[in-house]
């Protein structure tokens, strides 16, 4: 039997439909504020922020193999630097994004230090960084300790302009960050990222720049979570360090990614959507809601560590937003000449994405 050239695909018919659907959904979301109530616009803004948080934590943990329980440091810093920048007279909306750039810049020296730690040490080391940063921010006179302060300069805009502007900024940030992540994962860095995810030592042995790639993900995640924190500040106006530097933000990220599917691009989005629905329905249950979140994360990590999307993907071979490569062999390859038109079947050596 002669060797049959396998077909290497970067997408499927479903994924092409999914790409069109994604574009349509984003377009629909962009015009949605025309038709939605003020409350609904606020809620969907929160959903966008959750998607950013989930996607960024997933980039770090799912693709970079770096589980951090201190990501709230970047969330809090995103809000804090916004306050600081707006206080100098910068336009509040501009300061949200300048703040995120500052957060990304701050994360670089942190990465020099923290990326030398492994697994659990990294996870909890980041928590120490978050706790320390929280205390240091409290020392700033402008923040007035735990009393906090507000992004007062936003008040010059009337409530409905403010609401819709923040909505669009959140939608644009989410789309841009997801696009950056998608591009990164699909590009040549993506191969390195997935190699590291699957086996760090093996990746290093074949010449993948492990630390550099991880640093890229670390800074990207910090930047994205910084935007999320700044946007959250814009929606709620008040800044209390305790709320923003709270470990519960990381708990939410972990919940969303674990349930959705760690290490899959679509899983984080699915997880954010599920978290949003659960919060909408059960958020009023207070402490039992939090117990439920913790217990669900616990159960998923024990019984379904690949999450919902990871499990579905494995079972049905679904690919909506494919970031990897997919190898297929023609089914009648050994038979005759009609291999080009014959239906193809997925082999067991399936894409690792």
């Amino acid at each position: 039997m002669s060797a049959v050239a396998p077909i290497i695909e970067r997408g499927t018919a479903t994924s092409r439909i999914a790409a069109i659907a994604a574009a349509l959904i984003i377009a629909l979301l962009a015009i949605a504020p025309q038709f939605l109530s003020a409350g609904a616009v606020d809620r969907i803004t929160a959903l966008f922020i959750y998607v950013i948080l989930a996607a960024m934590w997933n980039a770090l943990a799912g693709f970079g193999g770096l589980v951090s329980v201190g990501q709230q440091v970047f969330f809090g810093l995103g809000a804090y630097f916004s306050i600081r920048l707006a206080n100098t007279g910068l336009n509040p909306f501009v300061s949200l994004f300048v703040s995120a750039i500052v957060v990304g810049a701050v994360s670089w020296p942190i990465s020099l230090f923290m990326l030398r730690l492994k697994n659990g040490e990294f996870a909890i080391g980041m928590w120490v960084i978050a706790a320390l940063t929280h205390l240091l921010v409290n020392l700033d006179r402008l923040v007035q300790g735990e009393t906090g302060t507000s992004l007062i300069s936003l008040n010059v805009y009337d409530a409905s302009t403010r609401r819709v502007t923040i909505y669009w900024l959140a939608l644009a940030s989410m789309t841009a960050l997801l696009a950056i992540l998608f591009g990164l994962l699909r590009g040549s860095t993506g191969a390195a990222i997935r190699a590291i995810r699957d086996n760090e030592d093996a990746a290093a042995s074949i010449g993948v720049r492990v630390t550099g790639t991880k640093r890229l993900l670390f800074v990207l995640a910090a930047f994205g979570i910084g935007i999320a924190g700044a946007l959250w500040l814009a929606t709620s106006i008040t800044f209390q360090p305790k709320t923003y530097f709270n470990v519960q933000w990381t708990a939410y990220m972990i919940f969303m990614v674990l349930v959705g599917g760690i290490g899959t691009f679509e899983g984080a989005i699915l997880g954010a959507l599920l978290f949003f629905l659960i919060e909408t329905w059960f958020g009023s249950a207070g402490v039992w809601y939090l117990i439920g979140l913790g217990a669900t994360a616990l159960v998923f990590s024990l019984l379904l560590p690949r999450g919902l999307w990871g499990t579905l993907e494995e079972r049905f071979g679904w690919r909506l937003l494919p970031v990897g490569y997919r190898v297929r062999l023609p089914i009648n390859a050994t038979d005759t000449t009609d291999e080009i038109v014959s239906p193809v079947q997925t082999t067991t050596s399936r894409e690792k994405a």
Partner: protein, 298 residues
């Protein structure tokens, strides 16, 4: 000043107590248990419940709570950690983090947001002190905690070096597969290690409750203190945790001298400095840290 140094050293005993379980579990199972602090607070609440509801002194209560903690540790290893460790090094972090959230919020659900203390149940011990030469007053409780820490660390050391079970735990910690080849039941050794670690956590929780106040969300800071003491002392080394605890407490004392809010900041900075020194000592140094990633071999 010497007064503060002595208080700092004694406080270091508490940190060593809470850190040694974390360090021990890390050295045997290579797992950092993020529910460590929450479990200590759980033990404090259990003692508080026994004392306030059934009038059982916290010291007697330990006779009930410590075996319970051992059982929790055994179950934790058998049903959670063992299973999640099979899924790689990252999964146990997520599992234990989920567990911490569940414990914290269940405690909140049960006991509310009030801060509690075991101090009212231990009589005059909570405020009694001895006068040492030089006009230095040291709290009896602080001395008891420090001595307990030293005895516990020494006892653990003896157990690990002198008993068969201790040796099988050490063998498992060195290499579970090879230990299995020579007839060590690694699963059992790990479950026993987890049970022992939880006994130390229970003890730490008791002293936390006696020397200070606690509330359902007090677990996170305790976890951070434990982790910092363990890292400063060199993760996995028993006597190192005592040194680490003392260094941490002294740094906090110093921080509090510099600024009213500097207590915890001082501790965190000491941790980062210790980390920096450790990374430097491993040949990576300042230059290694700042070397551009593009020129890196890996």
């Amino acid at each position: 000043m010497s007064n503060q140094i002595i208080q700092g050293i004694l406080l270091g005993g508490y940190y060593a107590l809470i850190a040694c379980g974390l360090s021990f579990m890390f050295s045997v199972m290579r797992i950092i248990n993020l529910a460590h602090g929450s479990l200590a607070v759980l033990s404090a609440f259990a003692l508080w419940l026994l004392a306030s509801r059934f009038h059982i002194s916290p010291f007697l209560g330990l006779l009930i709570v410590l075996p319970l903690m051992a059982a929790i540790g055994w179950a934790l290893q058998r049903f959670l950690l063992e299973r999640s460790a099979r899924g790689g090094a990252l999964l146990p972090i997520l599992t234990t983090f989920g567990l911490a959230i569940v414990i914290d919020n269940l405690l909140f659900e049960q006991f509310g947001a009030d801060t509690r203390s075991l101090a009212p149940f231990i009589g005059s011990l909570s405020y009694d002190s001895w006068e040492w030469p030089g006009g230095i007053y040291v709290g009896k409780l602080a001395v008891i905690i420090f001595i307990t820490a030293v005895v516990l660390l020494g006892g653990l050391q003896l157990f690990l070096t002198r008993t068969g079970l201790g040796r099988s735990i050490r063998a498992t910690s060195a290499d579970p597969d090879t230990a299995g080849l020579v007839g060590v039941d690694a699963r059992r050794a790990m479950a026993v290690a987890a049970a022992i670690a939880m006994v130390t956590v229970g003890l730490a929780g008791a002293f936390l409750g006696m020397r200070a106040t606690f509330d359902p969300y007090a677990g996170a800071p305790q976890l951070l203190f434990a982790f910092e003491a363990a890292v400063i002392g060199g993760a996995g080394s028993l006597w190192g945790t005592l040194v680490g605890g003392i260094v941490l407490a002294l740094a906090q004392t110093l921080g509090a001298q510099v600024h009213p809010q500097g207590f915890q900041i001082g501790g965190h900075i000491a941790f980062l400095i210790a980390l920096f020194i450790r990374l430097s000592a491993s040949g990576l140094g300042l230059r290694g840290l700042l070397r551009l990633p593009a020129r890196k071999a890996s």
